[in-house]
Symmetry: C2
């Protein structure tokens, strides 16, 4: 049974984790920044070290291609993730998948393995979307969901233009995004949630990705004196908002764990101790891996808001902020992940990705799935993000097996 | 049956309402400001016009005293309210009671009435507490609840010292607050709530004043990803805050209208759409006119917070912001108000004052009660504050009867 080079994988994760530190020692590799350039240069050097042909497309996605004269006519197996980060990031999110992709190819080459298909490993631009919107931009453009022109014109939170910044750091390529149509796509990633850690599971075979529905809800009531207004005459926008929060939790509890919902932001007006809120503005983040169910949840919320308008005499206005349909990953790849985990003696469970991923974009082009490893306490996007070495190695070895399997498909 | 001079009363309410306008045309007579001085000067001129002896005490309370050689040894009947205002105020709150106090005395004098006791009408300093804390300051100092020294040293929101500002506008008196021990105190005021307007009642005989309990409640949960954290593993501080809001409303509904509760302020951390709130900070304003009941409500809230710590795994910290015991007004005066209203053919109901009042402070010194007239839609502290003339006149005439009655007591 083949095995990746454990020491090399861990060393590289640490090395990439040291790039992009700001003056305060925080890991900040915002897309197309100097820190991102440092990380990209490191990745490119490792791709070259593995003997890969490095190609950068117009949106700055980096690909390391391993093809032979014998297999160059076949659709390649693609793997990859991203290395851009949030502000004050951990070192695993994204980077683990990119580094493991290179490691898997290098291992296969070192062991004299000859794949039936080319293998391509990628690092997609601006997955986090912190500096430029939207997030998952590089993979979205690659899959044809957004034009390169539009993406390159994106204006950053710091007023910069993505296209100019990519050029400045030397990562504005000339190849058209989508130039390789993959045979399949596999992404290795940390879970970013607590489920595997809590359950003590080593490998997650990610079979789908939640649909995401974000709304901003504005409830209007009547500002009145908190002491002199009898309960029966109150039109309390804040109380109505509270009822929505409680309602959403009840829906989640009734959904057998499939629906999750969060009221993350809230604001009252006039926000005074002794004035009944005349306005409450808050967000509702509702997710479900099944589109029909997600629509049911959205309808249930809409119905409840209508009911509230009657019972609480408030006026309610909703605004859609984000809507992603759920993504169903490829059953063949998921089964292959489960089989590989079993053969190596690792515990495995099927998972839903609660977060957005590059894989959800590439899934528009080809059969796709993801492998998860645990995140301790579910922490991510934070320096406290942590996955024990043994779990990183387990995931990379399962990844190796699945890549070997799919790249050997005729 | 005597009657106040209707035209004069209404003219004076409008005239005082025109003082203290700022550059934007907003009525702003903050305590001890130039606008307040203009209002005070007007009140003093009307007191002098009524032949009253004007005395200003150290905290700037203005008293117009009508006494005769025959009654000067008897404890005076005191009436009054305040003329300081909030920013962008209406013209009735406070002013109506001060102007009607002068009007009642002038009417009695004009009609040749000879009271058994002196009658004193007062305008108390800084009832609103907008520029200097605490509110109801002048009456609180007058009743001995706060030393004049401490109050005069109060630093304003604009950095000024109250004592210096009172001196500057010429209203720092030398007489010690509390220099007159009243036989009784009666305050005429707009309701500042919607009950009388909704019920079509003309006269409110205010028998008590709600106890007020303000707390700041901090709930700590755990910030986690809104997509990847299963419901069962969430510690959602925002949801727990919502439950408290809903719980408070349920308590109010169970209290037959006696308890009112308001969550007026709220803040989440980190306040991001896709992060479960790690912290919710909000205020609870709970009121009941009965101290035992108010304590029960506070205990019920405390018990519920303890329960929430268990069920929702959050940590909760509470901080007391304000606590006033309820005030029970004098049954004799309340009955007299009801009788006067009945004799004049006005509808009347017993009321609880939901707002704080100068009368609640003076109630520490002597039998006290209040007369309310309706506020349309319960609006106050706002230019839209409105009481129809007929209601203003009805209230002032009932006030006249009650003052006549109590000043004739031997």
């Amino acid at each position: 049974m083949l095995s990746i080079n454990e020491e090399r994988l861990l060393e590289r994760i640490n090395a990439l984790g040291e790039t992009g530190k700001d003056a305060d020692g925080r890991r900040v590799r915002l897309a197309a920044s100097d820190g991102d350039k440092d990380g990209r240069d490191m990745i490119v050097s490792w791709m070259k070290d593995a003997g890969l042909e490095v190609v950068v497309d117009r949106i700055g996605n980096i690909f390391g291609i391993w093809e032979t004269p014998e297999n160059r006519d076949k659709a390649p197996l693609m793997v990859g993730s991203h290395i851009d980060s949030v502000i004050d990031a951990g070192k695993y999110d994204g980077c683990y998948g990119v580094i493991a992709g290179i490691e898997v190819i290098k291992t296969l080459k070192e062991q004299g393995y000859v794949p039936e298909r080319p293998i391509v490993t990628g690092a997609f631009t601006n997955e986090e979307g912190v500096r430029y919107a939207p997030d998952m931009m590089g993979s979205l453009v690659y899959a044809g969901g957004l034009s390169a022109e539009e993406a390159l014109a994106a204006v950053g939170t710091d007023g910069t233009i993505l296209g100019e910044e990519l050029k400045r750091i030397g990562y504005e390529g000339t190849v058209e995004p989508g130039f390789i149509k993959p045979y399949a796509f596999i992404e290795l990633h940390i879970e970013q949630g607590p489920i595997m850690d809590v359950e003590g599971v080593q490998i997650g075979a990610v079979e789908n990705l939640q649909g995401i529905s974000w709304q901003r809800i504005t409830i209007e009531g009547a500002a009145n004196h908190a002491g002199t207004t009898p309960t029966a005459l109150r039109i309390d926008a804040g109380l109505a908002a509270a009822k929505v929060n409680v309602f959403l939790r009840e829906r989640c509890l009734q959904s057998n764990g499939k629906t999750v919902a969060t009221v993350g932001c809230i604001e009252f007006e006039p926000n005074a101790v002794n004035v009944i809120p005349s306005k409450a503005v808050f967000t509702a983040d509702v997710r479900n891996p099944d589109e029909t169910k997600l629509k049911e949840e959205e309808q249930a919320l809409a119905d409840y808001l209508k009911e509230l308008e009657k019972t609480d005499k408030v006026r309610i206005h909703t605004e859609r902020l984000v809507r992603f349909e759920p993504v169903l990953f490829d059953e063949g790849i998921v089964t292959c992940i489960e089989k590989a985990a079993k053969e190596r003696g690792f515990s495995c469970r099927r998972m839903t990705s609660g977060a957005g991923q590059d894989a959800q974009m590439i899934a528009r082009m080809c059969p796709t799935a993801m492998i998860f490893v645990p995140s301790v306490k579910g922490i991510s996007h934070n320096p406290a993000e942590f996955t024990p070495d043994k779990d990183l190695l387990a995931g990379a070895n399962v990844f190796l097996d699945v890549v070997k399997d799919f790249s050997s498909a005729k």
